[in-house]
């Protein structure tokens, strides 16, 4: 793939801060949501006005799952809501978590999705009937070693959906068996979490994104590096890649041209390229060549990227974030 050939062909300013995006297949449409508590349907080829906007939650909306005409949203209010995508009609709402829902992931067969939240639970839901089919708890501790509330930031399925991974603020990562709820491996990425015991006495960071390689052998974890002054996201973006079966870290990559958190991770279908996206003051895309074992290319973005959705073997990247939507198109 030609990762140096991306061009930004759409650059849309927005009033809101967007945390999540779900694309409508084979179109220039997408659902986005974030700081105004609403879900917006947009067409990035014809950006203004939004096709539709509807109030969805009572706090920041952080997760959108789209399967056919079913749209599911999750938010910091702990709720999951089911919507009929074509009409915006609400089907139901669940009190899914006791605290902020941070991320959700759709299983590859499209039947299930996973959600993680600061109640430190990973829950698997049936898309159709909204039933919780499984719950993984107890492994991510509610408190950090310093007695502050921890957070469960990220989750991801592997390609056949048999595995699901979760990562918490302290850098504790767990791989679970989807259908049994059994923990089958744990890993640690402590560098991504900075606890400052003396100067400021709180913490920053934590892994924010997860992705399995297409062959399911590797698990990539995205976050940031050790931070000196935790008032700011001043460390470079950081990606660690694990051979999860051995709980062994096999690579670490640093976005040396950009600072901030890696909030989105995605393997190219060929398994050789790993895309990380994120930012702080400004945003970035980082392409990692796993054969060369290096950050092969870095692209600045005009905003801190909080979420990204790709189609067509990464030929189209729709990034959303701080007051902006960007579409990157591969030549």
């Amino acid at each position: 793939m030609n990762y140096t050939s991306y061009k930004v062909d759409k650059n849309l300013n927005r009033q809101d801060i967007l945390f999540t995006v779900a694309r409508v297949p084979n179109s220039s449409k997408a659902y986005v949501a974030g700081s105004d508590f609403k879900i917006h349907e947009i067409d990035f080829d014809n950006p203004k006005p939004d096709l539709r906007s509807f109030p969805a939650h009572s706090s920041y909306v952080t997760a959108l799952i789209l399967k056919d005409d079913t749209l599911i949203s999750g938010a910091y209010d702990g709720k999951l809501s089911w919507w009929k995508a074509s009409t915006g009609e609400k089907i139901k709402t669940l009190d899914a978590h006791k605290k902020w829902i941070r991320q959700a992931a759709l299983s590859p067969d499209g039947k299930l999705f996973a959600s993680v939240a600061d109640d430190m639970a990973l829950r698997i839901w049936d898309i159709k009937d909204g039933k919780m089919v499984r719950e993984m708890t107890g492994e991510h501790k509610p408190l950090t070693p310093n007695d502050f509330q921890s957070m469960l930031y990220a989750c991801a399925f592997n390609k056949d959906g048999k595995l699901v991974a979760s990562a918490d603020k302290t850098g504790h990562i767990v791989v679970w068996e989807t259908h049994t709820g059994k923990k089958i491996a744990t890993m640690e990425a402590p560098i991504m979490y900075t606890w400052d015991p003396s100067a400021r006495r709180h913490s920053i960071g934590g892994p924010r994104s997860l992705a399995f390689s297409p062959d399911s052998k590797l698990l990539a974890v995205g976050g940031t590096g050790t931070i000196g002054n935790i008032d700011h996201l001043e460390a470079n973006g950081r990606i660690e890649v694990f051979n999860w079966e051995k709980s062994e870290r096999v690579h670490e990559f640093v976005t040396d041209k950009s600072k901030g958190l890696v909030e989105h991770l995605e393997f190219h279908p060929d398994g050789n390229i790993l895309l990380g996206a994120g930012g702080a003051g400004e945003g970035f895309l980082a392409f990692i060549d796993l054969k060369e074992k290096k950050v092969a290319h870095q692209e600045k973005a005009a905003m801190n990227i909080h979420a990204l959705a790709s189609t067509d073997g990464m030929k189209s990247l729709l990034a959303v974030g701080h007051h902006r939507v960007l579409h990157f198109k591969m030549a």
Binding site: Q15, I17, S35, D36, F37, S58, S59, Y60, Y76, D77, W100, D118, N146, D147, F148, Q149, M151, S198, A199, R200, R201, H202, S203, I204, I230, D231, H232, L233, E234, G260, G279, A280, G281, E282, M303, N304, G321, H322, H323
Partner: protein, 427 residues
């Protein structure tokens, strides 16, 4: 021409009042000059009062604590919750304070205009800006002077600040070292408070007696405020050393320690309560560092629940011990945080419309003073600055905010001339 102005000329006729000040400061003729200015009942009213200042260094966000704006574009992700006072809502991060709001007054209308950590910290610790040639005492030093007793066997100004960021903005200014803080910056146990091992109790006592004999001989035919303060300092040594146990949190029942919780801040606040209980008039617990330029919401998710729990536990504990009517708990930062959310999901420095809270002694509990607009951009009701906040705090403790100190022959009131306390905040 007013008396204040007349005094500020350096003429010798004012030397008497200045001497009185020195004398009482040094403990020689305690209180003489105070009584000249204040009624005896006002004096009595101050007795046994203490202040615990929870200093949220770096600038806590008003949006995520006492002045939430849920749903506003500036509001962030948190909801507000109902407090025990109908109609008053605070951030959902503070459920425990919401439940026991009855002793607390939240002030939502601070406009202090200074968004620089250093000078804003100085401002919010002193109630005013230093002059080029006049260093004002901070709240702790003033209260040590006003509420402490010259012969006191406990420290009268204790300051915990174990984090390293944002330290060193306190100070006793023109009141001098006698009213300066006992600074705890390395551990919760004060420096040099324990008798060293190389000397026995008896020898320690004997050598002090020997010293006091030399002191007595030397004092004959010599009068000086500084000399008196030197002797006073040594007379206080044993008492201060005895107060060592107050700093030892293991002396507190495990049940109470569990109530406060395991964090460093909780432990210090518990020690602060022990100190107040033993008559220490002012304790500051510095809780750094709230300066959330990046990841404001994550930072406040960590720090606000800790504040909520510890503050609510403290107030309940003080109430249970019958101390709350004599103890004022102040939560204060150097400034608040911007309505705007930056691209690192942070909030920056903001001093134009922010909040603090006062609880307990002399305060109208369960109330809110002042108001900001829908987005929290500006104060729309009851705007006050540092001076009126300080006047209110002093008044709540029964101290006249316009009482004068003398620097040389210049009278310097506790708060800037003409500053009125906020009546609505006072019980």
């Amino acid at each position: 021409m007013s008396k204040i102005r007349k005094n500020y000329c350096g003429s010798s006729e004012h030397e008497v009042s200045r001497r009185q000040f020195l004398g009482s400061a040094a403990g020689g003729i305690a209180g003489a000059s105070l009584l000249a200015q204040e009624s005896l009942s006002a004096e009595l009213k101050k007795q046994g009062k203490s202040v615990i200042l929870l200093w949220l260094a770096g600038g806590a966000s008003q949006f995520e604590t006492f002045d939430p704006k849920p749903g506003a574009v500036t509001g962030g992700p948190f909801q507000s919750i109902q407090t025990s006072t109908p109609g008053v809502r605070i951030s959902e991060l503070m459920p425990k304070m919401a439940a026991r709001f009855k002793d607390t007054c939240v002030i939502r209308s601070l406009n202090t205009r200074n968004g620089d950590h250093g000078s804003a910290s100085q401002l919010m610790m002193r109630g005013r800006k230093d002059e080029a040639s006049l260093k004002y005492p901070d709240m702790g030093a003033v209260l040590a002077r006003e509420l402490g007793k010259p012969e006191s066997q406990v420290p009268d100004y204790v300051s915990f600040y174990l984090q390293t960021e944002g330290r060193n903005f306190s100070g006793s200014g023109f009141l001098g070292a006698r009213f300066g803080p006992m600074e705890l910056s390395k551990s919760v146990m004060p420096e040099n408070i324990n008798k060293p091992d190389h000397i026995s109790e008896i020898d320690f006592h004997d050598r002090m007696a020997l010293r006091n004999l030399w002191s007595k001989n030397f004092e004959q035919g010599r009068v000086s405020g500084t000399l008196a303060s030197h002797q006073q300092a040594y007379l206080r040594v044993n008492g201060i050393m005895d107060s060592q146990k107050l700093f030892d949190v293991t002396k507190e029942p495990q049940k109470i320690r569990n109530q406060y919780g395991p964090t460093q801040f909780a432990e210090q606040v518990l020690i602060a309560r022990r100190l107040a209980e033993s008559g220490v008039p002012f304790v500051r617990v510095g809780r750094a560092w709230w300066d959330s330029h990046g990841q404001n919401f994550e930072t406040h998710q960590e720090l606000v629940p800790e504040l909520d729990h510890v503050m609510a536990t403290l107030l309940t504990d003080l109430e249970d011990r019958g101390m709350l009517k004599n103890t004022l708990v102040v939560t204060l930062s150097e400034f608040g945080r911007t309505p705007g959310i930056n691209s690192s999901l942070g909030r920056d420095h903001f001093a134009n419309a922010w909040s603090c809270s006062l609880s307990g002694c002399g305060i109208k509990g369960g109330s809110v003073f002042g108001k900001t607009d829908e987005r929290g951009d500006k104060v729309v009701e009851g705007e006050i600055g540092a001076a009126r906040l300080f006047a209110t705090i002093y008044k709540a403790l029964g101290i006249n905010p316009q009482k004068n100190y003398y620097v040389g022959s210049r009278p310097v009131p506790l708060t800037d001339p003409g500053t009125e306390p906020v009546k609505e905040v006072l019980a």
